[in-house]
Amino acid sequence: MKRELPLFMTAVIGLFMIVSFFVPHQWVSVPADFLQASAIIVVAFGYVLGGANVLRVNLDAIGKRERDWPYKVVLLVSLIATVAIGAVEGRGFLNPGMKSRWIYDQLYAPMSATMFALLAFFIASAAFRAFRIRTVEAALLAVAALLVMLGRVPVGNLMTGFLPEWAQLGSVQDWIMNWPQNAAKRAILIGAALGVMATGLRVILGIERSFLGGED
């Protein structure tokens, strides 16, 4: 029963949600909307579990004086302070002048931007490796990338401005992006969409049941 009931509920609700995609009538759409809205309640309980895990793992590490434990103290103090200030400020905690807003603007946003900015350096190092021409495929990739990059900046058109329009870099990069690139991308997307349906069907039919934990 411990396994059969969740499997039964998964199947019934899963099939109902599929039906709701095709049937807009209120007898179907209203319960379907309700089910989707109910997920928020489940998520809210999930955050309690998540928060408890963060506290347990980090308090344990601090207690055992594991390597870099002072950073965990910083993490816990930040977590508790942010939650406490947000709770005290209540609704509108992100309005201008609120402390939560200050934390967001002065601490969170700059730190996120810093992490994101690192991407520029990683793209440079990854591109360096990607464009090393060691095989025919790598050569094709490098040439296509060069044409697209040059075709998307003014200097590319300037270099090839004397050629007929179809041979200018702007037109060449358009062709690469609209035809070979799009064809490959759509093939991947169609395959992935079918994979999504197959995975969904396996879960709904109870064939994929590892998420229930343990063996039969």
Binding site: P24, L49, V57, A192, L194, L201
Partner: protein
């Protein structure tokens, strides 16, 4: 389903809202207001279209916009539903209640004031539909797909195990874990950064069970940092289940699955920190990834770990291909759990997907041929929303 417009004289409409006490400007009002019950919905919207005022010429400025007003009887009282800028001649009213009669009128807004409506349309009624007529093609393909999958699952159950091609990226997962075991280091598993409503996260978590089973068999520690609370609880179950299925439940470490943060770059900071501090020998990325894909994969590359990635996010695939040793592309991510488990029923579902792919390719070729010949019926039928 167009209603007849009830023509009323302008002075008769002088009750409230639009025309209360205002001098009537010398601008022609909009006309030809018609309504249509928006199809394929649960009776929640009515589409309105009208002809613009003849003075609503581009740039002239005689008409600034239009007020759409609604009442439950042709005589009012009228309530403002919405307003639009000059030049716009249609609007969808999404504030209606199904099966209730409404009357509409459109009033022009001019610099001098409001021009009373010339016509009222109604009664407009929004009704609920049983079938979304724009999704017939999807319904047919879905039914066909389900039929194929069920057929292959049934034939697999009957003992006919289907052939599945080798997927090097999935084979490499065991190799990566083996390497981590030899080096005495841990395995890092990242199930993407989306919540459980993203099917890629579901696929990533299902693969996690197989990965945890292998790490349990090799007695190699696994670390699973998770972004959202629901995937976190499921990931805990998956890892626990993997250890249980490997016959080593006592080796399960409750700290192996950690809730980190739903914030994208906070999560990146935490995971790259684990990579640099703990130096896991194998990094496995399976799920939905965005801008963080390269941050994670490049940091992992710099540590010398063997890396296997899988995602259906097309824009992140190039980054994984460059920075990882093996990459599962698109559908391979969804096939991985069936491939790893080797269970005939799961493998059978892959064959069903392959067969529908052949059908889709056939339909695409047929559609191209018909379009070339000027026959657009198939393309129109396939178009959906």
């Amino acid at each position: 389903m167009f209603a007849l417009g009830l023509l009323l004289s302008a002075p008769a409409a002088a009750q409230d809202g639009a025309d209360a006490g205002a001098a009537i400007p010398q601008v022609a009002p909009p006309s030809g207001l018609v309504w249509q019950d928006l199809p394929n919905d649960a009776g929640r919207a009515i589409r309105l279209e009208w002809k613009a005022s003849p003075d609503d010429a581009s740039g002239a400025g005689a008409v600034r916009g239009y007020r759409i007003e609604r009442a439950e009887s042709p005589a009012g009282p009228w309530a403002l539903v919405d307003s639009v800028l000059a030049g716009i001649t249609s609007r969808v009213d999404q504030t209606v209640r199904r099966d209730r009669e409404y009357f509409y009128r459109v009033v022009a807004i001019t610099p001098e004031g409001l021009v009373p409506a010339l016509s009222v349309t109604g009664p407009a009624i929004a009704r609920s539909q049983w079938i979304n007529g724009e999704r017939w093609s999807i319904l047919v393909f879905t039914v066909l797909f389900f039929a194929f999958v069920l057929y292959y699952i049934a034939s697999a159950q009957a003992g006919k195990k289907p052939f599945v091609r080798r997927i090097p990226g999935i084979d490499a997962i065991e190799e990566a874990i083996g390497r981590a075991t030899e080096m005495g280091r841990s395995v890092l598993y990242v199930p993407g950064i989306n919540d459980i409503d993203e099917i890629q996260t579901v696929a990533g978590l299902v693969i996690l069970e197989s990965v945890a089973r292998i790490t349990a068999r090799y007695e190699t520690p696994i670390k699973v940092p998770v972004t959202y609370p629901i995937p976190f609880t499921i990931a805990e179950e998956m890892v626990k289940s993997g250890y249980l299925n490997a016959g080593k439940p006592d080796q399960y470490d409750p700290d192996s699955v950690r809730f980190v943060s739903p914030e994208q770059f906070a999560y990146v900071a935490a995971v790259t920190g684990i990579m640099l501090r703990d130096k896991p020998a194998a990094h496995i990325f399976m799920g939905a990834f965005y801008a963080e894909s390269l941050l994670l994969a490049e940091t992992g590359f710099s540590t010398g770990a063997i890396q296997v990635a899988g995602t259906a996010n097309v824009h992140q695939l190039p980054f994984f291909v460059v920075a990882c040793d093996y990459t599962l592309i698109g559908e391979e991510l969804y096939a991985a759990s069936a491939y790893l488990s080797g269970e005939p029923k799961l493998v059978g579902s892959l064959k069903g997907a392959d067969l529908i792919k052949i059908v889709i390719i056939g339909v695409i070729v047929l559609g191209c041929a018909l379009e070339t010949a000027g026959v657009t019926g198939l393309t129109t039928w396939m178009r959906s929303q």
